[in-house]
Symmetry: C2
Subunit: 314 residues, 2 copies
């Protein structure tokens, strides 16, 4: 489903999102395309090399919503980018996301045995294989972005790689994980929690929308609007995550619930209360969509993603 056909069937108001059913169909379609791309990027091998590939596949082909690739593809669709290009960038950001989950789950970090309802990589394989599988996914993400097939213009490919590296590195996701592990979170105020979220999960969500715009040839102004959208979206995503951790059950989440309170982590619920957190998330979702008004009906799928983030149950 392209952005244009989805929006053609909707009332032509600037604020409209696609219908929930249309959004679910669109994110499923993207998830399938990304799954196929990841499968092709990670062909099964024999021997010790095969073991690290098996571990990469265990993480990368475990299903999931594939929200980040959807943001890439939906943003790129607004500028009529060929799907063959945007799916590659989507697969790259999903590899980065999966690497971060593998390393975060390690005993030396969050020590999580369960991920997406099944053993995490170090439980299924072992710690050394998990470390190396994460390293290889991180590395391959840049291999995919840098290759000619991603975009004929090397400057565009480099712009995507640069944004991806900044989002994933010490000034982004890695920095967020350091804060999550080492900061005295029980003393965090709203600014502290927001900063942690902005780095740990927000940077890669922001990249997804921006990376899609870049591979689609968006202007600097359009990239800025996509970035503003995704910053609010990422924050809403994390608040909903906190709500689900506090209220959800392990079966739906595919991981244990109630961990934040148990570990005395700084959360938006602790600081705002449950009602305050819900209101804040709703406000952010409305605000994030308003950043896309300039794109008219073409923004339907990205606005649908914002509604989905707010309404998700897992």
């Amino acid at each position: 489903m392209s952005a244009s056909t989805s929006s053609a069937s909707k009332p032509s108001t600037a604020a409209s999102s696609v219908s929930a059913a249309a959004f679910v169909a669109a994110i499923r379609e993207t998830a399938e395309s990304v799954e196929q791309a990841l499968d092709a990027f990670l062909p099964v091998e024999e021997g010790p090399l095969g073991r690290v590939v098996d571990a990469m596949r265990w993480s990368a082909l475990a299903g999931g919503k594939r929200l980040r690739p959807f943001l890439v593809v939906a943003a790129a669709d607004m500028f009529d980018a060929p799907r063959a290009r945007s799916i590659r960038v989507g697969a790259a950001v999903e590899m980065i996301h999966c690497y971060s989950l593998i390393h975060d789950d390690l005993p030396a970090m969050d020590d999580s045995d369960l991920r997406r309802g099944r053993p995490s990589v170090h439980k299924k394989f072992d710690d050394a294989t998990a470390i190396l599988a994460g390293d290889a996914l991180l590395t391959q993400a840049f291999e995919i972005v840098a290759a000619q097939e991603t975009h004929p213009d090397g400057a565009v490919r480099c712009a995507v790689a640069l944004e991806l590296a900044r989002a994933a590195g010490k000034a982004g996701m890695v920095g967020g994980q350091m804060i999550d592990i080492y900061a005295e979170q029980k003393d965090f105020d709203l600014e502290g929690v927001t900063q942690l979220q902005r780095l740990k999960t927000g940077a890669l969500i922001r990249f997804s929308a921006v990376g899609g715009g870049l591979v689609g040839g968006a202007s600097a102004d359009e990239i800025a609007a996509l970035g503003a959208y995704a910053e609010d979206l990422g924050l809403a995503f994390q608040i909903v995550d906190d709500i689900l951790d506090a209220t959800g059950d392990a079966a739906a989440l595919g991981k244990p619930a109630g961990q934040d309170a148990e570990m005395d982590k700084a959360t938006f619920i602790k600081l705002l209360g449950m009602d305050g957190a819900r209101t804040k998330a709703a406000d952010l979702v409305e605000r994030c969509k308003s950043n896309l008004d300039r794109f008219g009906d073409r923004a339907g799928p990205l606005k649908g993603a914002a509604d989905f983030v707010f309404e998700r149950k897992s």
Copy 2:
């Protein structure tokens, strides 16, 4: 010292290397430039973010020969590339090298407490910080390569990033580490040991010469010659490493000696004997230099690097 001034003071024979003294001066000068670049890429920070930067600096600013950056710079010099560009690629490959040492030293992998004569990163900090510092160095290497300052042509930057990712990833260094950990090395024949070396240490050494050529604007034929040179050089480097492990002392090496035999690892010495290994390394050094004859006197520094690899004591 540029390639042209160093070769001007030497007899103009195609087979000539620079003098040992000139080579030592040249590799020291490059090491200093790379150290300055790494220092600038890793500014000290406060708080939990500062902790991961401290760990990155502990690894990346620990001195060392900086052989890989020297190969980048010496190869790029042959094509008169501005040093500001080749030093960036050299710093990137050194970051990848350092990340691999940090992760390899972890208890889950080789469990090494000592690196370059001082505590390895996980001993100085802790396992989580070491994992994240490695991740951040790996990520930043691609950030550096992808940035405009590395080369005005995005296609050139992407070509460098692509080669670097291939050399570092599952079909290169990560794959080599998997074989090193999981293969039944005691049964390895010469082909098996060579394949292990080619991935684990050879791929990044090969990248260094090729990456220098790319950033210098070398032709496909010239890149192929640099690749052939560096493949033989990398193999010679590993054989000398095996010899030093068997005969060296911990003080000179900055790490425990005799580990290969203790762990019953497959080495060239085990398969060829000490004399056989020395002969093989010497043959490889001669052969690798012959690949550079087409470049005439400009190849003096790279030929000097080959002699240095053969004669090094640590």
